[in-house]
């Protein structure tokens, strides 16, 4: 597989240099791999820190800015960052009001963020944590590492970010983040595997005429392989899997998310089918976002995330946000 890179070893550092050049409103520490909003720490406001393996851009670095994350820690491609990064980020954004870690539920992210939380508390920083685990493709049981964190991360970061921006205290920001996660569910499909720079070949073989149902965002295969389906059938399967797990009473935010290599033209077409299925199932939609937000390098495919919102969550969703990846109202 060809990539637009120099060498695999410098992919993350090169990208951070490129981010620094494109986004003077962010402080990008290339050596220490921390991206911080320039005005951090913001007096009296809770700091929001997230992070994870690289390869999911714009998540997380692209969501740093007023109204969303205070800082992000990018790891190597698909590899959780290390506690040192998170500790540095926490120290950079803590104004005394405490720091919320937003952690996608993967063993690596959980362990590293936990270690960082211990270290941060040793340094007198108050830390709370929201675990994102929205992927209904994974059975949450004693026999798995639990559900993965995927598309809902965007909703948690945006809505908790708005709460922090309003000056809500750490417990409230944490509670809002948890509430968003609890009301969110995702399901993803892959039409192709992705290729990590380190490996240089696709993470799995997917023959023409087949697709993977229930994939995550790390190039891992899904739960099931099937003969290729139409966009309408995929929408029925994905929305069906979500609604088997959650029955929204309130309107939902919809994220129709591209995995990286699926053209926007197709994502919009897929959205038409997702909306059709939602309408048929009686789910009312408050707002829809279509695009590449939580990606998996050059994987072709898409995921659907539904986030059930009450008035307050919707108000926070609509609040101004100014980041490279998500921006409105400012």
């Amino acid at each position: 597989m060809k990539m637009l890179i120099n060498v695999a070893e410098t992919v993350v550092a090169d990208a951070l240099r490129g981010m620094a050049a494109a986004h003077p409103e962010l402080v990008v520490d290339v050596d220490n791999r921390v991206i911080v909003r320039r005005d951090a720490p913001v007096e009296g406001k809770v700091g929001l820190v997230s992070g994870g393996g690289s390869g999911h851009e714009p998540l997380h670095g692209g969501f740093v800015g007023p109204g969303m994350l205070s800082a992000a820690c990018p790891g190597e491609v698909f590899t959780s960052p290390v506690p040192d990064q998170m500790l540095r980020a926490a120290a950079a954004v803590d104004s005394g009001a405490g720091v919320l870690f937003i952690v996608k539920n993967y063993t690596g992210d959980v362990l590293n963020f936990d270690m960082a939380a211990e270290l941060a508390e040793d340094e007198g920083i108050q830390v709370a944590k929201v675990l994102v685990n929205d992927d209904v493709a994974v059975t949450d049981s004693l026999y798995t590492a639990g559900r993965r964190g995927t598309g809902a991360t965007l909703f948690v970061e945006k809505i908790a970010g708005a709460a922090a921006d309003e000056g809500q205290p750490l417990e409230r920001v944490e509670a809002v983040g948890r509430q968003v996660n609890e009301n969110s569910r995702s399901f993803g499909v892959a039409l192709s595997a992705c290729t990590t720079p380190a490996k240089g070949s696709p993470t799995f073989d997917l023959p023409p005429g087949e697709l993977e149902l229930g994939i995550g965002i790390h190039g891992e295969p899904g739960r099931e392989r099937r003969a290729m389906m139409t966009s309408g059938e995929i929408a029925e399967f994905a929305v069906g899997a979500i609604l088997d797990d959650m029955t929204p009473r309130n309107p939902v935010l919809v994220l129709v998310n591209g995995m990286g290599a699926t053209p926007l033209l197709e994502l919009y077409g897929f959205n038409a089918e997702v909306q059709r299925v939602l309408a048929q199932r009686g789910v009312s939609v408050a707002h829809t976002l279509v695009g590449n937000y939580v990606t998996s390098l050059d994987m072709a495919g898409a995921s659907v995330t539904l986030c059930q919102v009450d008035q307050e969550m919707l108000r926070l969703w609509n609040a101004p946000v100014k980041t490279p990846g998500l921006r409105w109202g400012v």
Binding site: P81, V82, H218
Partner: protein, 199 residues
């Protein structure tokens, strides 16, 4: 008796074998993981070797705690904190003795493995590094070569298992039929003991 030099050789030997086997470890991490295990450990053990060179710790315990801290600070992923904890806790258990007996080391390593189980929540049979580490510790009384054989056997025995921890668990039954990358790298780590001992 095993001195600091022995533990330094252990780490250097492991760094070399991880380098050699990095592609294979990453390949094993592709069908049931995210294709980074080899490069993760390569990055980590390269940092370990460099730090040992630079800081030249003088006791077995200091060698291993430094190595563990380096892994935690440079690897990331699941394996960083887990291997980091393994070495750090083993090192701590060794205290600040200048030399340790094979028995003392075996006990310390068991403490390290227990710490990994506590941290990661995995038990034997969950298709993780634990499946190589536990048999290795159990066999350590019979010498490094026996431990290496036990670790390798444990790694091979992960193939028919269904994963219950780590990324591979997301695959459910589809995780069956693949050897666990972490168990495989644990076997390399244990094999490093044989090399370090010059056996």
């Amino acid at each position: 008796m095993l001195d600091a030099e022995f533990f330094r050789r252990w780490m250097t030997a492991t760094s070399a074998s991880v380098d050699r086997e990095a592609e294979r470890l990453t390949a094993l991490d592709s069908p049931i993981g995210d294709a980074d295990h080899g490069s993760n450990l390569q990055r980590g053990f390269t940092a370990v070797a460099a730090a040992l060179e630079k800081e030249a710790p003088q006791t077995p315990g200091a060698v291993l705690t430094l190595a563990g801290r380096q892994l935690i600070s440079t690897v990331g992923g699941a394996s960083g904190p887990l291997y980091g904890t393994l070495l750090r806790r083993t090192g701590k258990a060794l205290g600040d003795a200048g030399e340790v007996s094979a028995d003392e080391f075996a006990q310390a390593l068991r403490a390290g493995v227990d710490a990994v189980m506590t941290l990661g929540g995995a038990a034997p049979g969950d298709k993780t590094m634990i499946d190589a580490l536990v048999p290795a510790v159990d066999a350590l009384g019979d010498g490094f070569t026996a431990a290496r054989a036990a670790a390798e056997e444990g790694a091979l025995a992960t193939t028919p298992l269904q994963a219950r921890k780590g990324r591979a668990s997301y695959l459910g039954e589809r995780s069956i039929g693949h050897q666990d990358p972490g168990a495989t790298s644990s076997a390399l780590l244990i094999a490093g003991l044989v090399e370090a001992a010059g056996e």
